[in-house]
Symmetry: D2
Subunit: 480 residues, 4 copies
């Protein structure tokens, strides 16, 4: 397993294909360091003895100990440990741990490349296994570049005015393919080593050019990452872990990018394109049953602490709201657990979590995140939004005033009061938090996507049949 330092060194050597604010940057640019800190925490975690078996796993290929972010889910326990690791690591970075998407994409590929080979006599699975071996050995950080820009939402890929609005194959060559298009919302991409590209949706038979999956180094020729950064406001005096983190999302352009065959995992099998899109979504929604409870834990802890610091921790309406947060966190958690215990072993050997449970879990999380913010906003009061800047707390002219008047529960020091409410400002009223909120709502699929997923997969017929039975309508009545 790699160290954080080794990872960082590799990053810094990559080609400068990062565009931010009109400039082209390499990955050692200071603006990227807060986001990178999120990812380095995943390397650190794998070294901690108390996270042994949680943040690490055993490769089913080699038997070696690997970072769990490189593991193929080979059992119920693997799925449970992944969920548990995700919950723990998000606590440490105050939000999205970012690295799950790569391994979720790898798992989806493990299932679908196998099945594609069975159906079409292709050899994607062997290629995939070779890539997986490299991936595990090198402890690769990968983005999953799934979401196409999608153009007119009322049209299918092949109906768009511009066919590139969904990434597609523009040329098939002897040594590989050439692809064109753009993928967005690419969390982790600016400091990932690989971009794993998957289709974004189900495809019709005429859309074989859009049925493409591959992995490619993130600084590969003709790839342009245009990056939106959103980091916590850095601190000069009041150092705190929360302020050391950030997020960066790439709008990734593939401008006729050549992909060699050994990196191509799907090429034209349209039915498998849709399956791959879905399979990734389901693994990723299972990851959300780890991260969303973790976010709720943080909002819940902040709510409880704000109530304590404000001196009102026993107010009944506040306690009822805390119970509501507990309810959300643990129902989403339960959905993840039930999905793991009801996982199915696929022909490839990979375990896939139960689809219904991951969808009801992710959906509940998405439908509640704004309300969770509301609860913290309610109990914290407005101070997080109007708190003077950090420097004023260390300016001789204003310091004493602020320390005098921030006091609430007299047992708590002024500095700690300051620390808490500044952090709540980071959580609810920063550019970072606005981006994070969108991710908590849309990431892995907005609630409407899970609604669609449930309506597709849940069998309503047995439920109608129960009602027919009770009402005395014969089940086989053609007029019933």
């Amino acid at each position: 397993m790699k160290t954080a330092e080794e990872y960082r060194k590799q990053l810094y050597k990559m080609n400068a294909n990062i565009h931010i604010g009109g400039e082209r940057l390499s990955r050692d640019d200071p603006r990227l360091q807060q986001p990178i800190n999120v990812v380095t925490s995943t390397f650190d975690a794998a070294k901690e003895p108390e996270l042994e078996g949680i943040a690490t796993a055993t490769s089913h290929l080699t038997g070696e100990k690997i970072n769990r972010f490189c593991n193929i889910q080979c059992s119920v326990e693997d799925l449970l440990h992944k969920q548990q690791m995700t919950r723990l690591l998000c606590h440490r970075v105050g939000g999205c741990i970012q690295r799950c998407m790569g391994i979720d994409a790898m798992n989806a590929l493990s299932v679908v490349t196998y099945d594609t080979d069975q159906k079409y006599g292709t050899e994607y699975y062997q290629r995939f296994l070779k890539f997986l071996e490299y991936f595990q050995k090198e402890d690769v950080v990968a983005n999953c570049a799934q979401t196409d820009v999608k153009g007119d939402r009322s049209k299918r890929p092949h109906e768009q005015v511009d066919p590139d609005l969904y990434l597609r194959i523009v040329e098939r060559k002897s040594d590989g393919i050439v692809v064109k298009g753009a993928k967005i919302h690419n969390t982790i991409a600016p400091y990932a080593q690989e971009l794993i590209v998957l289709p974004t949706r189900a495809l019709t038979p005429e859309e074989s050019d859009w049925a493409v999956a591959f992995s490619i180094p993130a600084d590969w020729e003709d790839i342009h990452q245009i990056v939106r950064l959103a980091s916590m406001r850095p601190r000069k005096y009041l150092k705190a872990p929360i302020a050391t983190f950030g997020d960066a999302e790439s709008f990734t352009v593939f401008d006729n990018v050549f992909v060699p065959w050994e990196r191509v995992f799907l090429c034209g099998e349209t039915d498998m394109g849709g399956r791959l899109a879905l399979q990734f979504a389901e693994f990723h929604r299972h990851s959300y049953t780890g991260c969303k409870p973790s976010i709720t834990d943080i909002l819940m802890g902040a709510t409880a602490l704000a109530a304590e610091y404000n001196g009102v921790e026993n107010a009944q309406h506040i306690r009822i709201k805390l119970a509501h947060l507990i309810g959300i966190a643990e129902l989403v958690n339960a959905a993840g657990i039930a999905a793991a215990y009801n996982a199915k072993k696929t022909p490839s050997g990979t375990y896939i979590p139960d689809n219904i449970f991951v969808n009801v879990g992710r959906r509940l999380a998405g439908e509640n995140i704004f309300h969770e913010w509301e609860i913290l906003c309610d109990i914290a009061g407005g101070i997080y939004a109007t708190l003077p800047f950090e420097e004023d707390w260390y300016n001789e002219e204003t310091k004493e005033y602020l320390e005098k008047y921030i006091m609430r529960n007299p047992r708590i020091s002024a500095e700690n009061q300051h620390r808490l409410f500044r952090m709540i400002g980071d959580l609810l009223a920063s550019a970072w938090s606005g981006v994070e909120l969108a991710g908590q709502y849309h990431g892995g699929g907005s609630p409407i996507m899970e609604t669609i997923g449930l309506l597709r997969d849940y069998d309503l017929k047995p439920k109608k049949d129960i009602v027919k039975y009770l009402a005395g309508i014969p089940l086989d009545d053609p007029q019933g």
Copy 2:
């Protein structure tokens, strides 16, 4: 295992201590037959080959095959099967299966009598085992009489103007105890063979007279059951399973009832009284993770069928509402599954489901039941509430009119349209349904009870500590 017919015969021989509408009745009174039909279905189910292992279990005492409603939960699988059985059987009776409370009470006794003996050197557990043997062999139907009338809710048991407002021991004798008080909301009691009496809440040291648990035949001397019936409107022509069921709840008065020692399972150990109350609630809430999804299944099936019969099954807003029902059913289900997999083995050997998961599951169910009704009401339209009486559909003067004008989706026969909307009327606009709704909200503990349970058991400190860590507040700072 007993047959339905044997059970019914035993019932009919019991003393006539049932009061309904000013009369004293024996249990063969026609008014009680609809409710009794619910219970007989549990005997029938245990005979069905396809429910082998679901509706039946193996006694850990005797190794005999028993009805699962008599089983002590000795494994994760036992808990999962109980949940699954409950979901399946409620489908068959269109609502609460009623018999779970007895076995939930038995499981709670198995845990707490053992622990009480360990702590106090008593011998309740041996008594309990003897009773359990009888219970399993005789396939006993039992009520759990837990809820006291409670008097002034702002006062504790010993503070009430009338001490009997919580059932209590009024005399301790050589051969047993004498108890006085009343228990209410006693589902199944009018046609149960045993009443298992448990405390209703946590108790303080001065409340030893209220710390009492026992089981007693339901027609025992000095017990008076005053019964509220709520059955489906019986059908003359349009026979349907739904119309054959009903519910009866007893207001059970214990007017200086003598209980022999061999039936006494707690007598004065106040700390254990509270534990017993809670332990029953938790087993019972786990049962709700089976029955509440089942109720939702029925409401969901009725909604889907009404949409189909109305010709609007593809309307997007209707489909979104169906997805919402799916979400509720499967999140509550997931909570039950997670509670089972995270069950703990107690010193008695009985497995108790995880407390947090049962509480978040039951709470979600309770908080959504009115909304579930709303969805069915919305999609069905008002016709279920204004549907002419059954007889008018079979009266020559009006029959043709009704059959002509009930037609919606032309593929569905008039009779089936009639059948569906009459059943929805039973589900939403009958005296039975009003009682059922109250049960679905309050039974096993209203949402506020689960809220209290969660706030008692969920550890908020680790959540606060995560926030302190992120904010840079030292965990050991006395001012933090």
Copy 3:
């Protein structure tokens, strides 16, 4: 103005065209008296000095004092008084006052017959005025028979397999027209003197046979009322106003009914058919801004009283729920007030309440009624659902037990405890309440109908233009 007694006498003389439970009845049948009591309260109210000007009005035709249920809205004050009267009178009958639909239909006719004449040179308005004079002089109780049975909801009237599934003209004769079809959910119809028949929806040009409006005596030849009753369980001992009321809804069949021209108010003008349907809905939704707050008042009062009787009136979570009920009642009320103050005077002189405000008001009411029930259910506890029957409270064998154990707040007598919880059972767990709930959700248009109304009438363009302005998108940019 008529007295209640005069009204009742007239009713009893009408032809026996009421079908209930397979029998044909005249209107003096005992089963109809509870519902009739609701309507007689509107005659009584008009005689009370303190309701002068509220329950009465001055006819704009004759200058005579009339019952406000016969008044055409000629001013903002008229609308405000109607709203206020509705709120007050519903209090007295514990639910829907039923008589508003007739006058709402009359007001809609006053507007649309006038406009139709202007557009088509017809003479409906004069006919209408003649009818109105009779209506006011005779203090007529009228139903509005609007809702067609509608058949397949995915088809328009002229697309149905059976053209009668929407009521239509089957013959135009020299002295009148012949109509065929059925109208449902006809509240008050079984004890109304007139049925005012209106179209149910917008119509296309090929649907002129369905564009028909008229008024006809409720016992007219070839009209068959098939009636669903839902009255409170009558009391033998514990007399209370709530138990004297009931509801009856008719499924009204028009089997080739002849309507003389002087009673025909629309005949073939399809565009005006849709307007009439809408105009009635809007007047009726304005009535709901009176009755729905009244229902909320009752639920709120019952919640507050149950909390007091239970001894927990100061619990914070209960008080917050009461505030929620206040919020619903007064927002719906505010919507009605704003609709009245923003009323428009139509060419006929009739004032129509503002469409947007009545729709947002009725919609909020509909979307909350299940939640309002939930609140009362929550605070009352389950006792309303399991309360033994009235007779058991007066049976010597059980009376003392029930009076002893019903005690809660010791200041409140057992009888009053009994009275309150029995009434809550009437409100939440009776066949009547199930029907009432459907009416509160669907009556005057379910929330989805107001949603459709709002999306039709609310102008979103100015809102988009504000955003374009702020974003710097030129308002006249063809690409914007």
Copy 4:
């Protein structure tokens, strides 16, 4: 009436008592100009002919035309116009118009100074009128500094460890008083000319030092404003009105500030302190019935436009969400209208809006703001959060890529697509938006404050009496 330019010039001459980020600044600092632009729009509006009578009013003191932000509410129409103006002006600045708090404070003073004089023989009202004359003539921009820092929320002002945690009188002198404390969340204060200081809550008799109200120039000696800025990210290329605005909130310290008697409007009358706090809150909540619908208008317009630009404006679930936004906006609007029409004329001649209606309106707004954000987030999709920075759209290396791939509805130009989603990012994912959201939730009182207000003012007894009547419980029964 002043011009925007005159106002700006006056500002720039004020003493430099603004602290931001560790520096002391005068008001011409570039960082303050975006917030100041919000206020200058109120001067500009008063000059526009089409806003005559809306943005202007007639002084009841002098008969002169004045800016409506300086007007005392002397009629129902005044209240309606204020509400209307607020809704219109917030549209122009994309959020809170900020200036309402000053005039709301003035109106509260007009009512309470008068009543205080009547009760205590003081002469506050004359002082107030003199100040009002100046206020109107000079077209003063005022902050209302109400919210104290409040220390331990479980303690009253006089119980705090540090008595300054609520601002208080520390000395009474012949020529005035000396006050000490701090007020927070002081919107507009950094660029206001006057700070109007009011008590924050009801006071007990021992809290006369805290019963103090006055107005003082915002740069007066010993006043220190420590300011939190939150402006939109300034634009270099893509100029748009939304990007020119911002917000600044002051943490205002009063360090032994001397206030001359002519500026003191309350000094020690504790009962009137509470009334003044409430009276301001109620005027201010009425202002929210103008601004909150305006915010909803913007969110609604952005939602509708995003749906159109995404090509999915006709999707039913999106349209239902738009209807929900319409419902919120117009219910809050209706509450404001009803509050105005039910206003009461106080002895001072000032009209106060109805308390119940302003509370239910403001409460609904507060309870929905997070959900309104959710709707826009849902329909816009995640692009607003991950949109590359403005400069990248004008960088030759990336410009074409972004313009190609932003395309959705092909009728809309790339620039307009860019404009819309950048603005939505400003609305939902900027530091400004985080602050604005807190203001929309807490400003004028969080929902819990309106809940408390409603429970204080709404009379539940008549509601209980309706229920007693219906249940047959005598209204005068001492046991009822």
